[in-house]
Amino acid sequence: MHRTWVSCAASLVFLTASAAAVESSLDQNIDALVFAKAQGHKMTPADDAEFLRRVWLDFEGGIPTADEARAFLADPAADKRAKLIDKLIAAPRFAERMAEAFNVMLMERRGDNDAWKAWLVDAFRSNKPWDAMVREMLAPDFLNEKQRGAGYFITRRLEKVGQQDTDYPGLTRDVGRMFMGIDLQCCQCHRHLSVSEYKQIDFSGLFAVYQNLKLQSADEKHKTPWVSEGVINAKYEFASVLTSKKAQTAPRVPFGEEVMIPALTADEAWLVKPDRKTKEVGQPKFSPLHEIAQRLPAPENPLFAKNIANRVWFLFMGQGIVEPLDLHHSDNPPANPALLDLLAQELTAHHFDLRWLIRELAHTQTYQRSSTAAGTHQRHLTAEQQLRAFLGATGERERLEKNTKPDVKVDAAKYSLADFQKAFAAALANPAKEPELAANPSLRSALFLRNSDYVHWALMPRPGNLIERLAAQSDPAEDLYLSTLTRLPSTEEKARLKSWLAAHASNKAQALSDFAWALLSSTEFFVNH
């Protein structure tokens, strides 16, 4: 991994959290810290084309049309970049794009759920603060129509798979990974063998909470599967398989204080008593689920802010300040500790307003640097971005969106958008339950691009699409490059296209289709640079 921008070095002057007291804005402070670590490497700003494409992919999830691209590139206004950022953040697509990215990050392609996706979109549309989002995920209100979708984070992970036990350890581990950036996997049975500050009690304190949940099926009252809690009236006992030493813990946020378990008798323990006859599962007065949901996503838990700052940085910069994103500990420190601290503190001060942080990041020179400079990280497009960009480039998105009844016999109605989403995800997405740090190109993706009917169909001339439009032009180079690569072609590239078309003059549409295919299969297309 090329980490020249964010490599370890000496400590820097630490900037305090109060935004008002600091003279420069956050984005300037970020740049200062990044430059300091860069040790003199020059950071060339991205040119307009690079910037345009990057910002569209990151904020809209796709690429602009040729006309939109041409307009931006020709615009002489000095503040056009800032204006574009604001425009894209304000657009409805922004919430959808963020929901998509967070869905993959939080659920790791475990499956689709409409209520969950709707909750995510709504959260980003209304700019719900991140701590509120996490509270809703960690202690879902299943009776609230607007919030029950958030419960999918927990309920999906507790679904039984075949004969295996309910995966309480997996859920516990993921709460640590997703919301605090720590992977306590190995601490279930003993202290972490390689990370000295992860201890078994850190796992067990969380595990005590989640193993107390029971997955319930949807019913009249609860429209989705939900979880009930049992009574916890004693500390959770655990022992190391290495030392056999016994210990106990109350519910506890990792590295935090134990939650006090109230001394209640069996009778007093229930808010709503369980009743076998009415099939009432009961509701305890003491809810460790809610206790953790209050304490984990809080300013007092420093790893909470650091985790989300790191993840948002990763989403937009292509590389986490801590990597892997869920392995933050003293032997895997942030590449730029001061930067991470700054982001975490600023975000906390702004009450975990993600939209604010993202806007600040987008304004940094770091974000707007050119990828041609040595050491910059290029990231593969996600399957969703690739699809959206592909359909945008080939001009087929609208047709697919409108076609709800696919008919194999009619060429124009052959596929629906859902067909394409499924095919692209199958070919290009990482397998389920794996963090999508870097989507590796695979044999499957190469074969898909080369031979699949989806790609082939989209590149056939059809009213309104790219190939049809290009075939009618005497000099299609500009339109082709703007539509696919969001930039103008160089002289050399124009000449190459001309000679290609001349060599395949017998079938202009096919020649254009093949050239477009080469552009759309090239690394330049499916990397965010």
Binding site: L193, Q211, A426, A427, H456, A518
Partner: protein
């Protein structure tokens, strides 16, 4: 409760292997000597734990021996369980080690430890034997993926099988032995068109890489390359043209079919072919289960050995058959046998292995190894040696960290080597 703890995953530096495709061989001289294109490996994995008492090491009419009889094999003095009549006739080709004694009796960790050789803990995940062979012997002249896995269920590329060697040496699984989706050229695209536009794509990539870091372009280039090689050899997946006689000999069941695909892969020159059969974890109804499964394994594996010999491939192919452990002599209330790493068997054949040989023995009741017990580390030593690789002179290089290719406190099983 499923423990998440999988000791094989205890690693310090994930970063090291995430980008670790840079590992090089220890010395250029050895590198050449080892790039011998001919040698191949067939690795048959019976997942769940084949019962050694119902297969390679029967104890008929004893306290724990179960209901089955034993039968003579082609090697005097050696008997197999009656459920393996065909392999009994081929014992003269085999080397059966009956003295395996390993440490792990859990699937979740045991499978990993056995497939990765359970070396001393060095803080990095060790590669599967297949990934190690892919690395040390290379893909071979065929250019096909070096570590191929034929298995029921889904296919796909598994980078994690390569451990610290880097994703390039992961296993490429073909689910149900079927070709990957989109393997064949689209019917509406001619070969010339396909070649021309792909060449154009490559040129565009080269221009792009000129100004940027090469790694991403190279990763893409290598998968397109692999795709092209596979497309050219799509025939290795085509079982439709196989003679009916072959389908019958291997058995008209999943394992038979998968073995046939594996044979085609080996014939095409794939370096390392792993075939997995699932469902051997018979904690219940063990005898009836083995009664229907062992004969099918017997049939498929036996046909494979015959065919490898007939084609001459057996001389240059190392054949290995094993599970993650054996099964308990004691029979539980579900009429099943539980996990038993204490005394179990592995069978081998082919290149570098002494054929018609029994190595080691268990006691009369099968409750312990009577002779020198061997851990899986010894097996890795033996296998590498059989392939002509000296584990004492060869190392892996993990981004500057030299690592032994097999457990450095163990030695090969001399009696098993030719």
């Amino acid at each position: 409760m499923n423990p998440l703890c999988t000791p094989g995953d205890h690693h310090l530096s994930r970063r090291a292997f995430l980008g670790g495709g840079l590992s090089l061989l220890a010395s250029p001289v050895l590198a050449e000597a080892m790039r011998q294109k001919d040698k191949q490996v067939l690795f048959v994995w019976l997942d769940g734990g084949l019962s050694q008492l119902e297969s390679w090491d029967p104890k008929p009419n004893t306290e724990f021996g179960g209901p089955f009889r034993s039968i003579k094999t082609s090697v005097p003095g050696v008997q197999f369980c009656e459920l393996m009549p065909k392999l009994a006739k081929q014992m003269h080709k085999l080397c059966v080690v009956r003295s395996m004694c390993t440490k792990d009796n859990a699937h979740s960790s045991g499978v990993d430890r056995i497939q990765r050789g359970d070396p001393k803990n060095r803080g990095v995940p060790y590669p599967h034997f297949g990934a190690g062979v892919a690395k040390l012997l290379g893909p071979g002249a065929s250019g096909l993926p070096p570590y191929v896995w034929i298995k029921p269920g889904s296919g796909g590329f598994r980078a994690e099988d390569a451990g610290f060697l880097g994703p390039k040496y992961g296993s490429l699984a073909f689910g149900d032995g079927k070709p990957p989706e989109n393997l064949l050229r689209h019917p509406d695209i001619s070969a010339e068109q396909d070649a021309a536009r792909n060449e154009l794509r490559q040129m565009l990539d080269q221009r792009f890489a000129a100004k940027r870091e090469k790694r991403v372009v190279e990763a893409n280039a290598s998968v397109f390359d692999m795709a092209e090689k596979l497309m050219a050899r799509a025939d290795i997946f085509d079982t439709s043209r196989l003679p009916e006689r072959d389908r019958d000999r291997y058995g008209r069941h999943d394992l038979g079919l998968h073995m046939l695909v594996a044979r085609q892969m080996l014939e095409a020159g794939v370096r390392f072919v792993k075939v997995t059969s699932y469902g051997w974890d018979t904690h219940g109804d063990n005898f009836n289960a083995h009664a229907t499964m062992v004969p099918k394994f017997d049939q498929a594996f036996s046909a494979m050995l015959e065919d490898l010999e007939a084609s001459g491939l057996l001389k240059t192919t190392l054949v290995i058959c094993l599970s993650e452990f054996g099964r308990t002599p004691r029979i539980n209330g579900h009429v099943g046998r539980d996990h038993w790493p204490e005394a179990w068997s592995i069978a081998m054949a082919g290149h570098g292995v002494r054929h018609g040989t029994l190595v080691g023995e268990t006691n009369d009741k099968g409750t312990a190894v009577k002779s020198q017990p061997y851990d899986i580390g010894s097996m890795f030593h033996t296998w590498y040696r059989a392939l002509g690789i000296d584990p004492l002179k060869t190392e892996f290089d993990n981004a500057g960290q030299p690592l032994p290719i097999a457990h450095d406190e163990m030695i090969p099983i001399k009696e098993a080597l030719a």
